[in-house]
């Protein structure tokens, strides 16, 4: 009786590396790895040779040298005697400021426009279509320099605010001045301030944190926590008894009263801008470059977000609305409880990539002279020190880090709202 046995094991032959599918992928991968490493080695050796012939070497010592240039729009204190590292740090904060501001306004405008494009009012839908097409089909750099030109050329100079019967006056109860040198808004001042805490000593990354701000944030956080506990308690009571206790006045009081008490205790008042000589003093000065960049990036990105929002709402079938209606939900409850949660799943992934685009496009600040990380590290610092390799590679790494952080953060959020399938 013949028994089936395994076929005899083939001995390994060299040609199996190419012809046997079990080994072929291994071969290809090893070759690819070698080719890649060769390429990297080639580039590095070229770089070393070129740098040697230029008499340069890769080192980051220039970061501790004084930058000796000024950054006029900044969040933290900085003087031209500070180091290049401090300048880059200020630039990085400027990038983040314009990116965060831009993302917020772009989202608000984008959602409004996206919903308005679906409006039953023919005129509004058409106007929004014109807006979207106008901004999507013209380069963002053009919008940025255009916004800058509008601000500089068409706004009144501070001189126009002077005199008894000045042609221009401050708006919003004499507190905001819009001039061709920028916008002056009131700043928050505390007459009984708690002072600042300095983090990181005297190093280049030093950071003055206002204790007033921390106190306000802490009180607000506590208020919101209590607010939510009250709401949870009301829900529990409603679930048990069927009657929801009236709590709204209590909730509002919890939110408002502690903050007001704290602000009064700190002696909160607004420092309004005032005309002194040829310019405004006091208040916070938002320069034209920041405003132009902010407006242009927001409007440009909002056009893309509007399309995403419109697509997301259209992607929800009409049956969902009708089913929700047949359950007896009111129209605004249908929107908030049925349509939006489902539309968000469609909207969020492309929204993430638009936030990323906005952050990357903020590097165009260099065109209007807003000193973000590209303008400091990749611009003036690079030109002053002549360290192209270090500056540009570092710049790329920083952007890569920001991009990856945004996509990781938003992907976590996306996971939370994603449909959980069986």
């Amino acid at each position: 009786m013949a028994t089936m046995t395994d076929p005899p094991r083939e001995s390994f032959r060299l040609s199996m590396l190419i012809y046997d599918t079990r080994y072929r992928s291994l071969t290809i991968q090893v070759i690819a790895l070698f080719a890649f490493m060769l390429l990297v080695a080639w580039i590095i050796s070229n770089t070393v040779q070129n740098l040697a012939s230029l008499g340069k070497e890769v080192e980051f010592g220039f970061f501790s040298e004084p930058a000796s240039y000024d950054i006029n729009q900044r969040l933290l204190e900085y003087t031209s005697r500070d180091t290049h590292l401090r300048a880059s740090f200020i630039g990085l904060l400027n990038t983040l400021v314009v990116a965060v501001l831009g993302c917020i306004t772009a989202t608000i405008i984008g959602v409004l426009v996206g919903v308005a494009r679906l409006s039953r009012n023919w005129l509004i839908a058409r106007i929004m279509t014109v807006y979207v097409e106008m901004f999507r089909n013209v380069p963002v750099l053009l919008w940025i320099v255009f916004a800058m030109a509008i601000l500089i050329e068409s706004l009144p100079s501070p001189r126009a605010f002077r005199g008894e019967d000045a042609p221009q006056s401050l708006i919003l109860n004499d507190s905001v001045a819009i001039t061709n040198r920028g916008v002056y808004v009131p700043e928050a001042l505390f007459s009984r301030s708690l002072g600042d805490v300095r983090l990181f000593g005297e190093s280049s990354l030093r950071l003055d944190v206002s204790l007033d701000l921390i106190a306000i944030i802490a009180v607000l956080a506590a208020s919101i926590f209590v607010f939510r506990r009250i709401r949870a308690w009301a829900e529990r009571v409603q679930n048990e008894t069927g009657n929801r206790p009236t709590t709204w006045y209590f909730q509002i009081a919890v939110l408002v009263v502690p903050s007001v008490i704290l602000l009064t205790a700190l002696g909160f008042h607004l420092g309004k801008p005032e005309l002194k000589g040829f310019n405004f003093a006091g208040g916070t000065h938002l320069r034209n470059s920041l405003i132009a960049l902010w407006i242009a990036l927001s409007l440009y990105t909002a056009a893309f977000i509007a399309e995403i929002v419109r697509g997301g709402i259209l992607a929800i079938s009409k049956g969902q609305t009708e089913a929700a209606g047949s359950l007896g939900l009111r129209p605004n409850r249908i929107m908030s409880l049925v349509i939006l949660p489902q539309a968000l799943r469609v909207i969020i992934p492309p929204l993430i990539s638009n936030y990323l685009n906005l952050t990357k496009n903020s590097s165009l600040a260099i065109a209007v002279g807003y000193l973000d990380i590209t303008g400091t590290l990749g611009g003036i610092t690079l030109n002053q020190t002549g360290r192209e390799l270090e500056c540009i590679l570092l710049l790329m790494l920083i952007y890569l880090f920001i991009s990856l952080s945004i996509s990781v953060g938003m992907n976590i959020y996306n996971k939370r709202v994603a449909l959980v399938e069986r």
């Binding site: 190419i18 992928s25 290809i28 991968q29 090893v30 690819a32 790895l33 890649f36 580039i43 070229n46 770089t47 040779q49 070129n50 740098l51 012939s53 039953r120 009012n121 023919w122 005129l123 509004i124 106007i127 097409e133 106008m134 999507r136 089909n137 013209v138 380069p139 963002v140 750099l141 053009l142 320099v145 255009f146 030109a149 050329e153 990357k360 496009n361 590097s363 165009l364 260099i366 065109a367 590209t374 990749g378 690079l382 192209e388 390799l389 540009i392 710049l395 790329m396 952007y399 890569l400 991009s403 990856l404």
Partner: protein, 453 residues
């Protein structure tokens, strides 16, 4: 008793719908004044439109077309309307529009970029409107990548012919060995050998100074010593890259980047889809790196670092370096678009190819890619629109694209201080090009949708 019952014998004629629900009034009621809130919005919108249009149309139409400088413009405005405010000075466009289109390209050679543009449409037609044009046009598509550089930069026709012949050699060798990986590798190697023979070895003087190409020309009846630029057959006057500018430069960078990034993007997409860990890691790393940094940093690399990364002594012009970096940038985005196309194919297509006994490259070439590329054409067009718009960034590294040219026009004393007219012209040109392409892409999407369902 008389019968009081009544039976109607004739039908009542149909009544017209109430006049408020049909015609112009009905449309207005339904679309503009459906309730008081919409009515308020409509009136506000009309007021806003009136405000914007009255300013804009007055500025555009009550304008000066014939003027040699801004001051001349202002004089004409004062003479005609008594003020310089609210009137456009289109004299700058009238004066400089050729420059905005072609940069500093020699005016007597303008026919060459125009011809290259027309040939571009001819070359793209069989791809974009496959069902409406004769398939013979595909020959133009194949020849275009070699013809276009010759037309734009000029020089001898033997350079593009030599390059094209290298591809033919690669194709023939690859075909001889069948569609296998080794055929691919050997094909590429033989093409490289061919190019070395044709143009001479690398580092050995400029192109076309040695090698078979030159000998061949000599064999065609030219004396080796007497080949000068003017006498060589099919010699076009050379134009240096630094004379390129305006919309020509934007289109050129965009087209070259998309054209070159397509094969690169296909390879990257396949690498990202593959099961091979190392290949996948390299491709994902490249794609995510490029997509994570702004284009402007890559342009900085082009302007300062690329020469450091290449062998000592390499020095080619900035436009070529920019093209390389924009190509790499476009390739990463292209790879993602094509990956989307690959993901859109049903698994049955892969299994069908396997069951026919096709190997990987045959399956990709004959089954997968034709379908995947077709469904990714809308994405490719959107990528092109993005790249085309992003070419304005080269003005930051001092190339003369339309935006860079507008700065240099403003630096001229004649036109110092002119903003809106230049911006309006540039924006209009970009709008027309990008809007046209996005409409085409939407048309294509609709067509693909109906075909699949």
């Amino acid at each position: 008793m008389s019968d009081a019952s009544f039976v109607r014998t004739e039908m009542l004629s149909e009544q017209d719908p109430p006049p408020t629900s049909v015609g112009v009034i009905g449309w207005l009621r339904a679309n503009l004044f459906s309730n008081w809130w919409n009515a308020i919005l409509t009136v506000l919108c009309l007021a806003a439109i009136w405000y914007v249009l009255s300013g804009l149309l007055g500025w555009t139409l009550r304008s000066v077309w014939n003027a040699g400088s801004l001051n001349e413009c202002r004089d004409v405005m004062i003479a005609n309307w008594g003020s310089t405010h609210g009137h456009a000075c289109w004299g700058v466009i009238n004066d400089r529009w050729l420059q905005l289109l072609f940069g500093f390209y020699p005016p007597e050679l303008y026919y060459r970029p125009i011809l290259a543009m027309l040939l571009l449409f001819a070359a793209l037609a069989p791809v974009l409107f496959a069902d409406k044009v004769p398939p013979k046009l595909l020959y133009v598509t194949a020849a275009y990548p070699f013809l276009m550089p010759w037309l734009m930069w000029g020089g001898s026709i033997w350079t593009p012919i030599g390059v094209a012949a290298g591809f033919v050699v690669a194709y023939l060798v690859g075909r001889k060995l069948g569609g296998t990986a080794s055929g691919l590798v050997l094909g590429i190697l033989s093409a490289v050998v061919w190019w070395m023979l044709w143009f001479g070895l690398p580092g050995q003087a400029e192109t076309f100074d040695s090698g078979v190409g030159r000998v061949l020309v000599a064999g065609l009846g030219e004396n080796l010593a007497s080949i000068s630029p003017d006498t060589a057959p099919f010699w076009l006057e050379t134009v240096e890259s630094r004379k390129f500018g305006g919309f020509m430069l934007s289109v050129l960078i965009g087209v070259v980047a998309i054209g070159c990034s397509l094969p690169l993007g296909i390879l990257l997409a396949l690498g990202r889809q593959s099961n091979m860990l190392i290949v996948k890691a390299i491709c994902v790393g490249f794609i995510e790196f490029i997509r994570g940094v702004p284009l402007i940093t890559l342009l900085f690399v082009a302007s300062t670092l690329l020469n450091i990364f290449l062998p000592p002594g390499t020095n080619f012009d900035i436009i070529l370096r920019v093209m390389i970096m924009v190509t790499l940038f476009a390739a990463a985005y292209m790879a993602e678009v094509i990956r989307g196309g690959l993901a859109g194919l049903p698994t049955g297509q892969y299994e069908g190819a396997d069951s026919l006994g096709l190997n990987y490259w045959q399956a990709q070439r004959l089954i997968i890619m034709p379908q995947a590329l077709k469904i990714s054409i809308p994405g490719i067009v959107s990528t092109f629109i993005g790249i085309f718009k992003d070419t304005t960034l080269v003005s930051i590294i001092a190339l003369l694209d339309p935006l860079g040219l507008s700065n240099s026009i403003r630096a001229d004393t004649d036109w110092n201080g002119i903003y809106w007219e230049l911006f309006a012209f540039i924006a209009l040109m970009f709008f027309i090009a990008c809007f046209g392409m996005s409409r085409y892409s939407m048309y294509l999407e609709r067509k693909l949708k109906t075909e699949n369902d």
